[in-house]
């Protein structure tokens, strides 16, 4: 079993290149902000960014001028409002224009599934009577060979690099996650390279004690980054809460191009790594995000011998 643990700096510099297609997934939870910030620091540009919900994580990367194109299904600051930086880029071409490839949620899921299943397309019941296919020629139809008309299809999406946040993994990258699963498994299997960011590194024995909990096998993982609070201001189930205050702050900051650049300089560019970012946030703010205990009860796998 090979040890794939590396620092975030090393993981990003080893696998991320300018011009690649990246997918930093995590549906409303476990969003890998720590990886996004390191990508911004390393200044990889001309990126195609795929994500169901670009959220603040891509708003920041777009504001940093790294993105050439967005592949997505919902542009918003959940429960707060629009993503101002991305809107500026789309509406005013600032800091740079942004190419859009737009789907619905299930369309994005279907693209990851086709990529993961190595299928030429994935079928879904969507897009009927809408304008989405007109602005995205990759959304097509297939006639059912069993009659009953056509069904919509989307093509595979195989990101160069997928980055997913999880609760825990062993050194080889056998990754266990719980809570909201989004399309984490599908994007990992679809990607050429997989970087897993975890709150905890555990012994292989911990993974083996509950194999049904392993969502991503080490088999497809290239790098394992141990990064506590790696998802802040997003959250990791059981480890910390969503920092809703920051999602509101960002709504203010991101309205202004200058303040946005200033925030990126202060909180990303001039911060060496996530540890420093956490020190800057301060222990009080992080402690307030800690939930009370709610452990799952054990299940019996059975020790089968002779």
């Amino acid at each position: 079993m090979s040890d794939k643990r590396v620092s975030m700096r090393e993981a990003i510099s080893t696998y991320v290149r300018s011009g690649q297609t990246l997918a930093l997934e995590g549906f409303t939870a476990s969003i890998p902000f720590s990886a996004a910030h390191e990508i911004i620091r390393q200044g990889h540009t001309g990126l195609t960014l795929a994500r169901m919900t670009p959220d603040l994580v891509y708003d920041q990367m777009v504001a940093a001028g790294l993105a050439r194109k967005l592949v997505f299904s919902y542009l918003g600051n959940p429960g707060v409002g629009p993503l101002h930086a991305i809107r500026r880029s789309i509406e005013q071409g600032k800091p740079a224009p942004l190419e859009l490839e737009e789907y619905s949620h299930y369309g994005m899921v279907g693209r990851y599934m086709a990529g993961a299943y190595r299928l030429p397309f994935f079928p879904l019941r969507s897009y009927t009577g809408t304008d989405l296919p007109a602005v995205n020629p990759l959304i097509r139809n297939v006639q059912s060979p069993y009659g009953g008309g056509a069904v919509a299809v989307v093509p595979p999406l195989n990101p160069d690099v997928a980055i997913v946040q999880a609760q825990r993994a062993d050194a080889e990258g056998n990754t266990q996650m719980w809570g909201l699963l989004g399309a984490q498994k599908e994007v990992a299997f679809a990607a050429e390279r997989v970087i897993v960011v975890v709150e905890e590194i555990v012994a292989e024995a911990v993974i083996r004690a509950d194999p049904n909990r392993t969502i991503i096998p080490g088999l497809i993982v290239d790098a394992v980054v141990h990064e506590p609070f790696g998802s802040h201001p997003s959250y990791v189930q059981g480890y910390y809460d969503r920092d809703n205050a920051f999602y509101l702050e960002w709504d203010e900051i991101s309205r202004d191009e200058g303040r946005t650049a200033e925030w990126l300089r202060e909180w990303v560019l001039e911060v060496p790594d996530r540890a420093a970012y956490l020190r800057k946030l301060g222990p009080e703010r992080l402690e307030r995000l800690r939930p009370g205990p709610a452990p799952s009860p054990p299940v019996e796998y059975g020790d089968y011998r002779a």
């Binding site: 542009l75 737009e102 299930y106 899921v109 019941r125 009577g129 699963l181 959250y235 709610a294």
Partner: protein, 255 residues
């Protein structure tokens, strides 16, 4: 009945909750629909099963969830599922009775725009886009819309059709083979609309207290059809307002 005053938004949320009467499962999105669903659960639909777009079934949150991604929805839920399972097995699989949707623009046949104002490639205002709305509008058995009434939103022609309602009206939706029946109610801050006519054209079915037909016509961008059974919306009951103000939206985030 009640003598307390209430805001138009409170009336809208209460009316939307009432539209959920009898529903078994509801697909819950972020914001106002979330509040309306939780109000319905506490009033007209005690057996309502909430299925959150984030992949949570049977949630029992220890606090009022701030968003569909709130970790409080996961702890103590009956089941948490991946996006492929949520959209494939639950929504497309036909397990959703009802969904609440809203949009920046709606037309007379209940088609929705949540994508863009202006031209798609050179937008005046870029909106969030579909999210799950497109497949929800197609696959959920029935739809209720909740949005503020204004001439800017109730338009004769959409700038972009993100989610299908009754398409061009009449038998158009049925002919398209969509599994779901489409929208049956549009709940706003001034009035409620239905589609109970052969054309499936949006028609005024109830005015909220103190609102005139003229006011409503003023805010609708086409020659408005009025139901022959036009009624007045019963005002929020004390119970409904108390739940809304003290439990579901204490910070008046929505109302």
């Amino acid at each position: 009945m009640s003598n307390t005053t209430y805001s138009p938004t409170e009336m809208m949320i209460v009316a939307a909750a009432r539209a959920l009467r009898g529903a078994g499962t509801v697909f819950v999105g972020v914001g106002l629909p979330n509040v309306a669903c939780n109000l319905a659960l506490r009033t007209v639909a005690p057996d309502l099963q909430l299925i959150y777009e984030s992949g949570v079934y049977g949630a029992r949150p220890a606090r009022q969830p701030l968003s569909i991604g709130d970790p409080a929805l996961v702890s103590g839920a009956l089941s948490v599922v991946s996006m492929p399972d949520l959209f494939g097995l639950y929504l497309q699989g036909g397990l959703i009775d009802l969904a609440l949707l809203g949009g920046a623009q709606v037309d007379r046949f209940g088609n929705l725009n949540t994508t863009v104002i202006g031209d798609y490639s050179t937008p005046r205002v870029r909106l969030p886009g579909s999210g799950g709305a497109c497949e929800i509008a197609i696959n959920a058995r029935r739809l209720v819309y909740i949005m503020r009434l204004s001439r800017r939103s109730f338009v004769p022609a959409l700038d972009f059709r993100t989610s299908p309602g009754h398409l061009t009206g009449g038998g158009a939706r049925t002919a398209s083979g969509m599994p779901g029946e489409g929208p049956f109610a549009v709940v706003t801050d001034l009035a409620v609309f239905d589609f109970n006519n052969p054309q499936h054209e949006m028609q005024l079915s109830a005015l909220h207290g103190g609102v005139t037909l003229g006011q409503v016509r003023q805010e609708v961008g086409w020659e408005l059809r009025v139901s022959s059974t036009l009624a007045e919306t019963p005002p929020p009951a004390d119970e409904e307002l108390n739940l809304l103000r003290n439990e579901l939206d204490p910070d008046s985030h929505y109302s």
